[in-house]
């Protein structure tokens, strides 16, 4: 049957036969790089259009419908415009860091793509510690924001960056704890292991109520970690003009924009992997015939379907809830999410030790 892993395998075989090991490694790196970059571009185009349409429909508007058929060329026009727009560097800015920050944001996004399983047995890098890797590398993201805020030499940027730093550092805790609940349940940090452990049902169904609680906490925490409304204090227009990217224009701004959407995609992919079984089709325990029917849908469609469902959920939050104040934000994390997720982790550990999960 047609699948991503077969294609990847045959390409690798062909490269290994044709070239020396070093050259075949280089070729594989180049292919992977091009694939990731094109995925970035496609994701940026699709997610921005999706956001605009979702926001429009939720606000009983029409949304972009005039640029191209049904507005599908809208983001293409935006991208092209941002490409040819002037990229300013303010005179008082720290030029090196100012120009490095958006690139760093994008590179972090690219690094995060590595351990994600896009389809059955299809990964760029099968890491032993996949989930830990993602939560580790995503913490570099905050540095690029702090860098952008500092280097802009603008008080709004600096304040936005500090807010964003406080927010990301604190919400990383509860995101990590809710990831840990699933790690405790399946006993591995490896992403394929986690997915295969869900072959007879996804963790959100198998793990009773604690899994659902940790799913909710995970979604809230990653919404805050990606700086999206209702947690977009880092770029609160009413107070901080545009937060840490106030001084960015043209393509540098577009890179930040893109990095935000790619980050949303990545955290949703991780959420789908942990709680909704990644590329694993919808299986119910021992119902062999039902499971067999579900297997006919390709694994990549399952993965992207779940991921886009979670992305839609995060967009739904954004266009429904008003922005929090900074003290409310920290209250929510330290007084509600963190204690709840700690108790939840204890509960899950008890469940895992006693073997109550299915």
């Amino acid at each position: 049957m047609w699948s991503f892993s077969n294609i990847a395998g045959s390409i690798q075989n062909w490269l290994n036969q044709t070239f020396s090991p070093t050259w075949s490694l280089v070729m594989q790196m180049i292919i992977a790089g091009i694939a990731v970059i094109s995925l970035f571009a496609v994701l940026g185009l699709i997610l921005v259009l999706m956001e605009r349409k979702v926001s429009a429909w939720m606000q009983i508007r029409l949304g972009p419908n005039r640029v191209g058929p049904k507005g599908i060329l809208q983001t293409f026009a935006d991208t092209l415009k941002l490409l040819v727009k002037e990229g300013l560097t303010p005179a008082g800015a720290d030029k090196l860091l100012f120009n490095l920050a958006p690139v760093l944001a994008l590179v972090v996004g690219m690094l995060l793509m590595a351990p994600i399983a896009f389809a059955k047995d299809f990964q760029l890098w099968n890491l032993n510690i996949g989930v830990l890797y993602v939560s580790a590398v995503s913490s570099i993201m905050v540095i690029s924001i702090l860098m952008a805020g500092w280097a802009s030499n603008n008080k709004y940027s600096l304040m936005g960056a500090m807010r964003s730093g406080a927010q990301i550092v604190s919400y990383e805790l509860s995101a990590g704890l809710s990831i840990l609940t699933i790690v405790v349940l399946c006993g591995s940090l490896n992403i394929p292991d986690i997915i295969y452990s869900q072959a007879d049902g996804w963790w959100i169904f198998k793990g009773h109520i604690p899994a659902i609680i940790s799913f909710v906490i995970f979604i809230i925490a990653v919404t805050a970690e990606t700086n999206r409304a209702p947690f977009d204090l880092a770029e609160a227009e009413s107070e901080l003009t545009a937060g840490f990217h106030t001084e960015y224009s043209g393509m540098k701004f577009a890179l930040f924009f893109l990095a935000e959407y790619v980050n949303v995609f990545i955290v949703c992919a991780i959420g789908a992997t942990l709680f909704l079984g990644g590329w694993m089709p919808f299986h119910i325990g021992q119902w062999q015939s039902f499971n067999h029917v579900m297997d006919y849908i390709p694994s990549s469609i399952w993965f992207f379907g779940k991921t886009f469902f979670l992305i839609f959920l995060i967009m739904w939050f954004r266009w429904t809830f008003p922005r929090l104040r900074i003290d409310q934000l920290l209250n929510l994390e330290w007084k509600y999410l963190l204690p709840i997720s700690m108790i939840n982790l204890l509960l899950v550990t008890v469940i895992a030790i006693l073997g109550w999960h299915f």
Binding site: P21, T22, L25, V26, D94, L96, L97, L100, L127, N128, I129, L132, Y133, S135, A136, V137, S139, I140, V142, I143, L146, M147, W150, N153, L158, A161, M162, G165, V169, E172, S188, L189
Partner: protein
């Protein structure tokens, strides 16, 4: 020269160059950023060695925690945007000398040490193994040092709280 060697030298160059820049730059925020790249380079070397867990911990602790802490403290400092004053020649010479002494010491140690090829097969650095080693009480377990380190951290936490507590007499 294989691809792996090239990657090693690239990572090493990143680490050394950014480390040097971190101590020579006169802008304090840039120094923190160079330090960040230095730590990322070290994490990259861990990845290259297949010690993935340690690499991830390196990133979580140093990049996600310590560098962010340093940056925050720089943000809260007055006049952090200005260039630091130039150090006088004596200090510069002394620090260069100190660096060379340290380097020489390390090199001498490395040269004198006799590396023995062991027969035992390497321990798989999986997370499960690390966890068992770390919290094991049998032969080769590190439960006691682990607990002692955590007592140190607890003491530090208690100390923080004591410092942060306002005494009633002062406020009244």
């Amino acid at each position: 020269m294989t691809g792996a060697t090239i990657i090693f030298y690239l990572l090493a160059a990143l680490t050394i160059v950014s480390g040097l820049l971190a101590v020579t730059t006169r802008m304090i925020f840039r120094a923190a950023i160079y330090l960040l790249f230095c730590l990322i380079g070290i994490a990259g070397i861990y990845f290259w060695l297949q010690y993935q867990f340690i690499a991830a911990v390196q990133i979580v602790v140093y990049v996600g925690g310590i560098v962010v802490l340093i940056i925050f403290s720089i943000f809260l400092t007055q006049q952090a945007g200005e260039k630091l004053p130039k150090q006088n020649l004596g200090r510069q010479l002394f620090s260069v000398l100190a660096v060379f002494c340290g380097l020489a010491l390390a090199l001498v140690q490395l040269a004198q040490y006799e590396f023995v090829i062991t027969d035992g097969k390497p321990v798989e650095p999986t997370v499960a193994n690390i966890g068992k080693q770390m919290l094991g009480v049998d032969n080769g377990g590190y439960a006691l040092p682990f607990e002692i380190v955590s007592i140190l951290l607890l003491a530090a936490l208690v100390g923080c709280i004591v410092i942060a507590l306002k005494s009633n007499t002062e406020t009244a």
